[in-house]
Point group: C2
Chain length 473, copies 2
């Protein structure tokens, strides 16, 4: 977990932010949001929203009152207490890529369908990472597992192979409930899970200005059980949202707020995250452009809006539009990641592995992105400015034209520097290895997978979990 | 030129910054700096510094008094007035890679000696760039030109093939004077050049705490003619500076301040830039690690120190330790560039092209880095938040579940988005081109070079310049 020690970036001026806020309130009041669930509409109506057909209209005081009930930060518990994280404040928590149906076939420069074997492998890479905090999400779609079982098999793999924080399924109320029941097995009962939230789940809006029934059912189940929810807009400018960034942010803000309002009505104080995976669309091709500076601006403002509402934020990731792990993949991913962290984003999904916007996971990029997480973390950690580190004595001792290599100050402080995991610092003169970064990452990934040791898991818990999953089908 | 519209990042707290400042003053007073030039020492002594042998000791009031004479920002004139730039304030000016002896041979995955032909080619690429502001520096070392003529041939190529701002030679007093004389030919006489500075030059310190005679002679010539000077420390932590970042910053600050003091003593008000090209050293290999987060932290603090002293700053670039233009090259370069711009760095040398720290220029990376400059520029330009861009009417018109693609608001505002130069936004489904970024950059570079039209240059000026260069040897 990154604990940012440097100030965050506020992209917009306060007055501009408030304009977006006011416009979002206007949309919530005048256009409303379609909630495709009778149960959700009943709850919304009962607490002061106006319902007409599938549409729900929100009086501004109801919105602000409900959003005010959400906590500014919260704790997400891992089965290994050392890996429990804080979501909010100056913390940034990382989760791997989420939801891609494909995996990069690096040797053949193409993509193939993702499988459960990939899912387990990426889980192990995430378990091995020093920087990934949350696993158990849809790291890749295990296309070879029946839909009815996918969420359970993914959860089982995450618990068996890591002891990090977990995500729950958002694919409807039943799978959400089953996710909670499995968490209860791992964490010692339903009461413990309710008291110490153990599952964070991703609820996407259906832009523009709708929620589908599956997501709403999951939202309500998790909220009732006090499990954290990322409410995230997934708008595409010029198609499912206005083409202007300001207009797209207004819409996203309205969608996210309406989801947060529902969660708070179900259970006041439900931990929520104000999130976005929105992107501009390249209107020449119709493709997403998630590695674009415009998309980064939106992520930055999403983090700022979340601070305005007093809730944690989600956005960004190591995002790129490149199909292969080349230099574009590197520079786009770093731009999005760096700015998301500097903007104070609290939860970064898609922190490692994605290529071709959200479509393809790559073993090679997973490892390269993990290196980036270490670099960005290091940048946000300030260095000591003390009598000792200012090195006045060493400077006077070595003096003009001297060399610090043999000075004791160097020996005492050389550990201040970060050692890269896979990056090269060789030069052509004396280079022993001209492999490129994906080649080095490929080898690193293979090595991790062949040597990986899953953390210990109580035998009874493992057996009970296996039994639960087996009983599903 | 980037005119940053978002706030800058202050990496250190004010108290920490002042500790570095105070320690630097202590070093200047107690250890002093070696100035390997009798003329420089005489000037320093005459204005209140204490001289013992080659060493010069600076009383703090003398330092602060002299630094106070330097302008907070200044104008650097181009022969095309539209390309004149401001150095200081919220502006960031870009110059290409500087000084590499090698060029990447992309086809053979190796490096070769740079030639004058490369120099001219890189000058044309810089001329073509929408983001490069300054040319005429040592884009690459033209190893096939006699040392006596290099500065003149480089200047000549820069003037013939671009109409952008220019750099002068720092290789001793004579070459500095010749650079000024050539500028006088181009800009209409020595008086004009003195009044409207037309050459910016790079004076490196010789760490730790020394200046060599060649750099000092150039510094004094330029200062006398009121030409802007970047005074830059080039320290390597653990070898030519303390291994701690704080200690290395103290030393750099002392070195840079002493150079600025000399420039102000020669000619009060000489435009100067507080600069650094310093880096940590990877102590396992002894190689520089300029793509490291620690080096970025130093660049960020250099910009902050410059603001503290009220002068423009130089640091950063698209820097990497990768030998080839792969994903490491991309993510390291973006990290350094992005943070340099966000930290408010005013002059960014090495903005495009470098690989293998400062050793190798690459046509392919030049083009990829130029793309990055456009992305970073776009990120620093805020988007409109107006009634029109907030899109309330469009949102109410399209409503829940609609599509914005056919709405008039989309047609009216779609130009808000930046179109990439070489980056791909294709997807595997329907991809027509699986080339990687260096391949696309290679083709782009070849196309620019074959189609490049040099801007018009007055025939008389061209003839006079040719004559001047021919007369040198």
């Amino acid at each position: 977990m990154i604990k940012r020690e440097i100030e965050h970036l506020d992209y917009l001026e306060q007055g501009e932010l408030e304009k977006i806020h006011q416009a979002a309130l206007t949309i919530l009041e005048k256009n409303g949001v379609e909630f495709h669930s009778q149960e959700a509409r009943d709850i919304l109506q009962k607490h002061g929203a106006k319902v007409e057909g599938e549409k729900v209209f929100f009086p501004p005081p109801v919105v602000m009152d409900m959003v005010g009930k959400a906590p500014a930060e919260f704790t997400l518990h891992a089965r290994n207490p050392e890996k429990t994280v804080t979501i909010g404040g100056n913390c940034t928590v990382h989760a791997p890529g989420y939801g891609s149906p494909y995996v990069m076939d690096y040797a053949n420069n193409t993509r193939r369908n993702a499988t459960y074997e990939d899912y387990v492998a990426f889980t192990k890479l995430a378990g091995n990472s020093k920087y990934i905090d949350v696993v158990g999400g849809v790291l890749v779609e295990p296309n070879d597992i029946a839909d009815r079982l996918r969420h359970a098999k993914m959860f089982q793999a995450a618990v068996k192979h890591t002891d990090k924080c977990l995500m729950g399924s958002a694919m409807g109320g039943q799978k959400a409930m089953e996710s909670i029941e499995m968490a209860a097995i791992v964490f010692g009962g339903m009461d413990t899970v309710k008291k110490n939230p153990a599952l964070i789940s991703l609820i996407n809006t259906n832009s523009p200005l709708q929620f589908d029934p599956r997501m709403l059912d999951a939202l309500m189940v998790y909220a009732r059980h006090n499990q954290p929810l990322i409410i995230a807009a997934l708008a595409m400018t010029g198609t499912t949202s206005p083409v202007t960034l300001a207009g797209s942010l207004v819409q996203q803000c309205a969608e996210i707020l309406s989801g947060i309002v529902l969660a708070q009505m179900v259970n006041p104080g439900t931990p929520v995250v104000f999130g976005s995976a929105s992107s501009i669309v390249d209107l020449r091709s119709g493709n997403l452009a998630i590695g674009s500076p415009e998309s980064v601006k939106m992520f930055s403002v999403i983090a700022q809006l979340a601070r305005f509402y007093g809730v944690p934020s989600r956005g960004g990731g190591s995002l790129t539009d490149a199909m292969i792990p080349d230099s574009q993949s590197g520079f786009e991913s770093m731009m999005v990641l760096m700015n998301s962290v500097l903007s104070g984003t609290n939860f970064i999904l898609h922190s490692v592995g994605l290529l071709e916007n959200y479509m393809t996971m790559s073993y090679e990029k997973f490892i390269a992105d993990d290196e980036m997480l270490g670099m960005v973390k290091s940048f946000t950690e300030r260095f000591p400015v003390s009598d000792e580190s200012l090195a006045l004595e060493a400077l006077l001792r070595v003096g003009s034209g001297g060399n610090f290599i043999a000075d004791m100050h160097t020996y005492e402080h050389m550990k201040e520097m970060r050692i890269p995991q896979i990056s090269s610092r060789q030069s052509f003169a004396g280079a022993t290895d001209l492999k490129n970064t994906p080649q080095r990452a490929h080898e690193y990934s293979n090595r991790v997978l062949s040597e990986y040791q899953s953390p210990e898991l109580d035998e009874n818990i493992e057996a009970e979990l296996d039994q639960y999953v087996a009983a599903l089908g």
